[in-house]
């Protein structure tokens, strides 16, 4: 204060000045500017003091606020965010919360070659200690003029200890997270796998790579570990028994399109995908497209019923094969007589289905198949999705062959979703593999009445038709067999089959579709050397349903209960003379 006064008042306070002017002017006059200056100084000082004071009060208030009132939350928040910014890939869990993909912390060995004294000796020791290391390569690495080289990633604790005991200078470890799949091959094709830097390069891991890397909440799949296991074991057994080249299976919830289990065999261990040949990593259920054969008759019948082309009382003459553009369409075990629509279905008559499709027409058939998702890739959350092979020219010939599942190749997943739509009340749901992505609403394709008839037809096929082996007492199974000849070098090969069965349960109020397929099965003595869907694939579905129904909370019922019988029986579908109204005659 005094300092300022002194400096500012300097010209006036100086004694000589005052004395000099005193003689000429009165003291009052000479004092006035001095007084005014002091006043100005005081005002300035006051303003400065107020500003400084206010700032101090503000700072003080903030300090009190942080220290005593709200500080904890803010500080805690800061620390919390600082912590969670650590990058770890999110876990993947099944629909019941069981971990199916997680991370383990592992040590990775690196070297600083500048500090390695004897690279050759070190290389020999390392190659001896760690399997899979090449001595020469390691020596070359250790001689490089770099600060950092990876020697081996993801060591086990025991290996780490062994390397430590070697006591080689210039080696060190870095802790890294490695993706781990506790269930090995069980869900291999759905989960996919990651590369050495934990980036998803196949399956769910690839599709949700961004989500898994940024969001820490586990990703919940729609798959059920237990159901997956039962399906996988049943398929593996059948594959072994029938010396099949491969197998695929799907269990799907018909009410929302959620995939409960999806198996493709042979499979691989996602913990070490490089060890198995690429062929095993191919997902036959979603990526493979096949001519699936007679299972397509479900759709042929549903379309014809829904479009009002036939009723369950109509039928077709199946005495003679269909001859069309040089092809002859025949039945495998033909009845060679007039067949009603239910009979065409349960005996799986190609001739009957062909006539039905011809009456329906290519345009209607195509429109329905499009709505059922069979003409474009399935929308499932996987990168490995096959594009269906659809005829470029959809003429009468194609209409006939597609009626019994030839001339069109779709993935098992697509067929399963389409079959679900035909029996769940007529609503198509896009298949999904993530729990919360279920498409609850779906799109209507068939009327509820058509869907009811389809349930009766599928049930009849298991009770009296080609699908008897799929029956699981108490669970009201319905379904349809399919056996398609594979295309060889010179046309279709009679001995190479894709044998499948698509089953639904419980038929009174369908909840699940179960699909099973064997690629090139061979008949055994047990199957009387047959290798068709009814002999090799239907038993798989029956067995799987028996095992998974209790897991999925489906309570068995007495199949003989009158109300159940009434809901699922088609009365008088067998030909009587007066019922022989040919739909093809009626249509023209």
């Amino acid at each position: 204060m005094q300092n300022i006064n002194k400096r500012k008042g300097y010209p006036f306070i100086r004694s000589g000045d005052v004395n000099k002017s005193a003689g000429a002017k009165s003291i009052n006059e000479s004092y006035r500017p001095f007084h005014a200056a002091i006043e100005t100084g005081r005002t300035r000082l006051l303003i400065t003091a107020t500003v400084v004071g206010l700032t101090f009060i503000a700072v003080g208030a903030k300090v009190v606020d942080l220290a005593m009132l709200h500080g904890d939350q803010k500080v805690a928040k800061k620390h919390a965010t600082a912590q969670s910014s650590k990058v770890t890939r999110a876990d993947i869990v099944d629909r019941n919360g069981n971990v199916v993909a997680t991370n383990l912390t592992m040590a990775s060995l690196f070297a600083d070659p500048r500090n390695v004294l004897e690279p050759n000796k070190a290389a020999v020791l390392l190659a001896k200690t760690l399997p899979g290391l090449d001595r020469k390569k390691v020596a070359a690495l250790l001689k490089r003029k770099r600060k950092f080289v990876w020697i081996k990633r993801h060591l086990t604790p025991r290996q780490q200890q062994a390397v430590n005991q070697l006591g080689i200078p210039g080696l060190d470890f870095r802790r890294e997270r490695k993706r781990f799949y506790p269930h090995g091959a069980l869900m291999a094709h759905s989960l996919g796998y990651v590369d050495i830097d934990n980036r998803g390069i196949a399956g769910i891991e690839k599709h949700f790579n961004g989500r898994l890397g940024s969001d820490h909440e586990p990703l919940k799949l729609s798959l059920d570990l237990r159901v997956q296991h039962k399906l996988r074991i049943a398929l593996a057994e059948a594959m072994y028994r029938h010396r099949a080249a491969g197998a695929a299976g799907i269990v799907m919830d018909v009410t929302n399109g959620q995939v409960i289990a999806m198996v493709s065999a042979p499979d691989f261990d996602p913990n070490d995908p490089g060890k198995t040949p690429a062929g095993r990593r191919f997902n036959k259920a979603s990526q493979g497209v096949y001519e699936l054969g007679s299972t397509f008759k479900i759709l042929t019948a549903a379309i014809a019923l829904d479009a009002g082309i036939v009723t369950l009382r109509n039928g077709y003459d199946a005495t003679k094969p269909i001859k069309i553009s040089g092809f002859t369409i025949n039945d495998h075990y033909g009845k060679r007589r007039w067949l009603s629509v239910p009979e065409i279905f349960i005996y799986s008559s190609n001739i009957g289905a062909g006539h039905m499709a011809l009456d329906t027409g290519a345009k209607t058939q195509k429109a329905y198949l499009r709505k059922l998702g069979l003409l474009h890739r399935a929308a499932i959350e996987l990168p490995e999705v096959g594009t269906p092979i659809v005829p470029a020219n959809w003429r009468r010939t194609q209409t006939v062959t597609i009626a019994f599942g030839h001339g069109i190749s779709v993935s098992p997943l697509q067929l399963t979703a389409a079959v679900a739509a035909s029996i769940n009340g007529g609503i198509f749901h896009e298949p999904t593999i993530v729990k919360d992505n279920g498409d609850e609403n779906g799109k209507r394709v068939f009327t509820a009445a058509t869907s009811k008839k389809m349930r009766q037809l599928l049930r009849l096929s298991v009770l009296e038709g080609t699908g008897k082996a799929a029956a699981a007492q108490g669970y009201l199974v319905g379904g349809k067999t399919g056996s398609a000849e594979k295309r060889g070098a010179g046309g279709y090969d009679k001995d190479l089959l894709i044998s499948s069965f698509v089953g639904v349960f419980p038929m009174t109020k369908p909840r699940y579709v179960v699909f099973a397929m064997l690629d090139e099965p061979v008949g055994t003595e047990e199957t009387k050397f047959h290798a068709t869907g009814g002999w090799v694939a239907a038993p798989i579905v029956g067995k799987v349903i028996k095992q998974i129904a209790p897991l999925l909370n489906v309570v068995p019922v007495d199949e003989g209960t009158p109300s159940i019988r009434k809901a699922l029986t088609i009365r008088s579908y067998k030909p009587t003379p007066e019922a022989r109204t040919l739909a093809s005659f009626r249509a023209h």
Binding site: N98, V99, V100, P182, H183, L186, G474, Q547, P550, V555
Partner: protein
């Protein structure tokens, strides 16, 4: 007056200085503690993570099936007629006393057949 003012100011300055250093050191100490706690939490979390992974690994359906085969050899998958709803249970029991009796006898027999440690295991379930 001057002396008093000086004393007050000096005391205040000393107190502020002391308080400042005290708070600084306290914050540093607390931060170090927090770091330690965070490190421990991380470690525990990591451990829980590993245990969860191991739990999942030990619960592989394949392994459980093998263990069941080994330790509960007489167990078979439930038959359709053994499954029912809770509300239908009383009906089922009174309707088939005979079956229930055979069932109980079967269980008793199984228990008897098992060796002692196995029997203990069996009783735990």
């Amino acid at each position: 007056m001057k002396a008093l003012s000086l004393t007050v100011w000096l005391t205040l300055a000393t107190m502020t200085g002391y308080a400042m250093f005290h708070i600084t050191f306290e914050v540093e100490r607390l931060e170090a503690e927090l770091r330690d706690v965070n490190k421990l939490t991380e470690k525990e979390k990591d451990e829980i993570h590993h245990l969860r992974a191991e739990w999942s690994y030990l619960n592989r359906p394949n392994r459980l099936a093998e263990l069941t085969k080994k330790w509960l050899p007489s167990w078979t998958p439930p038959k359709t007629n053994q499954i029912t709803r809770m509300d239908q249970l009383s009906e089922k029991i009174s309707g088939s006393d005979a079956t229930a009796a055979t069932g109980a006898a079967h269980i008793a027999k199984t228990e008897h057949r098992l060796k002692k440690p196995e029997r203990q295991r069996y009783a735990e379930h």
